[in-house]
């Protein structure tokens, strides 16, 4: 994440200010084509993944999912559908009962740290444990064993990207909810992951912070999976949607198509985003 990189994204996000339109499906396919040379392995290839906690019913059953590099996938479904467990498996925090997970062509071994994947947890407080914002963002790069100069430049770039430069010396515990969220994201981005998982990133944000996050995500070059109950949010940042219910993937397709399918959504406890609903 060099400075030019940061700058280019900044300008991208400036260009999007004020735009509240849907992601343009055609444009995003072009973008995908540009990002993924035919020979590259998919960012994520999950096959027949199952998981159960000991003594409980299965949480995930034969889940298969392929995500190409550059895709932005919204993950929706009721609580308890297995979304969080799925993420924990992708990160290697949990061991699958059966199935395989390939991340950029290499299998995920449970318990092994893979810097290619980053996860932004539901509660930013779970992710902020240093005495200042700077130290918090530097935590990951330092763990990677980078030289201090490289650490500093990564921290600076991640803070610039999230717009948190001015808060570098503040203790994260004193920030507002929206600021904490952006610092947590900066901490993950400083690891320069290729695939980022966002778990309910919009919660507790007010509309300004939410809009800011949407613009940030629209301009983000990383592949990402984003789980939220806020389908309007998904509609603005993801081109593809995967619906989880009862531990299985029940639908997978283009966001505007899936999210307009009232019958499908209702069957899984979801509602069409207001924008795609028939007017009253």
């Amino acid at each position: 994440m060099t400075d030019e990189h940061a700058l280019s994204r900044e300008s991208g996000s400036v260009g999007l200010v004020g735009s509240v339109g849907l992601v343009d499906a055609v444009g995003s396919v072009d973008r995908l084509a540009a990002l993924t040379p035919a020979a590259a392995p998919p960012a994520l290839a999950v096959a027949a993944l199952s998981f159960a906690y000991p003594g409980s019913a299965p949480v995930l059953q034969a889940v298969s999912l392929t995500v190409q590099a550059g895709e932005r996938v919204g993950i929706v479904g009721p609580n308890g559908a297995g979304k969080t467990t799925f993420f924990m498996l992708l990160c290697g925090i949990l061991s699958p009962a059966t199935g395989t997970i390939m991340l950029y062509g290499a299998p995920v071994k449970p318990g092994t740290f893979r810097p290619e994947i980053g996860i932004v947890f539901q509660h930013p407080d779970d992710q902020l444990f240093c005495a200042s914002v700077w130290e918090d963002v530097a935590f990951g790069p330092q763990n990677l064993g980078l030289a201090p100069a490289e650490v500093s430049s990564r921290v600076a770039a991640a803070l610039a990207l999230t717009g948190m430069q001015d808060l570098a010396r503040r203790p994260p515990h004193h920030l507002s909810g929206g600021e904490k969220r952006m610092v947590a994201i900066a901490g993950v981005l400083a690891m320069q992951p290729h695939l980022v998982i966002y778990d309910e990133p919009g919660v507790y944000l007010d509309m300004r912070a939410r809009r800011r996050l949407i613009q940030f995500l629209q301009a983000a070059p990383e592949t990402f999976l984003l789980a939220t109950h806020d389908l309007d949010f998904i509609l603005e940042v993801c081109e593809r949607v995967v619906v989880f219910d009862a531990g299985q993937i029940v639908a997978d397709g283009l966001a505007p198509t899936i999210l307009a399918d009232a019958a499908l959504l209702a069957a899984h406890g979801l509602e069409c985003p207001a924008r795609l609903q028939p007017r009253m």
């Binding site: 906690y53 000991p54 003594g55 409980s56 467990t85 924990m88 990160c91 925090i93 949990l94 061991s95 449970p110 318990g111 740290f113 810097p115 980053g118 996860i119 947890f121 509660h123 407080d125 779970d126 992710q127 902020l128 444990f129 240093c130 005495a131 935590f139 990951g140 330092q142 763990n143 990677l144 515990h173 901490g187 993950v188 690891m191």
Partner: protein, 272 residues
């Protein structure tokens, strides 16, 4: 809570003791579950003190039989007890393994420099039997009723309200904070942190983790206090409401006290 035991080979893998829920069998229907909590508390505590008192080897099997009979009456699964006996850990194991070689004069068997001694063996026998008996009674006492019922019983028997209120609040938020810590450790692991070598950097990150946990719980306590105040906390001194003590409860209490007194009396006689 199930997921606590699951994160393998991560540096946080062992910090997951919350999966042994003491309240799993709190709502059973055995005689022990039905016993009025105050009587149960006094009766079983008296037995535990008596168990701690016993020193004579002849009474050890009696004590064990009493403890296991109570456990049987409580109709708790045997695995539940075995899992709990496994928990106390290294110190007990160390004592049991080393005492026979360290305590006493009378050598029973000697292998090279190691000599197994009679007094030490005796000590280990007394200690481990008492340990098992007391632990079993304790498991029955606190696993056959919801913790709140036992704590309320203690309150109406004169334990200060400050202590009982603090106990219940601590117990309640233990689960939340345990989950917070667990997630924070996962988040640290996801950013490449491995606590494998003792260095100042590792130590200071673990200190920051501890500090963050303390700050979070402090901030939460202010919100909890406000929520409590807004539902009338402090308006009225809480009083424990109690079920009436039936004749069966009283009879069971008398039986427990008689057994306890009997153990102590016989032990004193045998010692003399």
């Amino acid at each position: 809570m199930g997921q606590h035991g699951m994160c393998r080979r991560y540096w946080c893998q062992r910090q997951s003791p919350m999966n042994l829920d003491i309240e799993t069998y709190a709502y059973g229907h055995s005689a022990l579950h039905r016993w009025e909590p105050r009587c149960k508390l006094v009766g079983l505590l008296a037995l535990m003190v008596a168990f701690a008192f016993v020193r004579s080897p002849w009474l050890l099997p009696v004590m064990l039989v009493v403890a296991l009979a109570i456990y049987r009456l409580a109709r708790l699964p045997l695995l539940f007890l075995l899992a709990r006996l496994r928990l106390p850990g290294l110190f007990v194991l160390f004592l049991v393994m080393s005492a026979p070689f360290l305590i006493g004069h009378t050598v029973v068997v000697a292998v090279g420099p190691l000599a197994l001694r009679q007094e030490g063996l005796m000590f280990v026998g007394v200690f481990s039997t008492r340990f098992v008996a007391i632990l079993t009674a304790g498991v029955v006492l606190f696993s056959t009723a919801p913790l709140a019922a036992s704590i309320n019983a203690a309150c109406s028997l004169g334990v200060p309200v400050v202590l009982t209120e603090m106990t219940l609040l601590t117990y309640r938020y233990l689960h939340e904070l345990g989950r917070d810590l667990h997630t924070m450790q996962r988040a640290m692991g996801q950013r490449g942190f491995r606590a494998s070598r003792l260095r100042v950097r590792t130590l200071s990150h673990l200190a920051a983790l501890t500090g963050s946990l303390l700050v979070r719980s402090f901030e939460r306590s202010e919100r909890v206090y406000q929520a409590m105040r807004l539902r009338g906390y402090g308006v009225r001194q809480p009083g424990a409401s109690n079920l009436p003590v039936g004749w069966r409860d009283a009879l069971a209490l008398v039986v427990a006290l008689v057994i306890a007194a009997g153990l102590v009396a016989v032990d004193l006689r045998l010692r003399a």
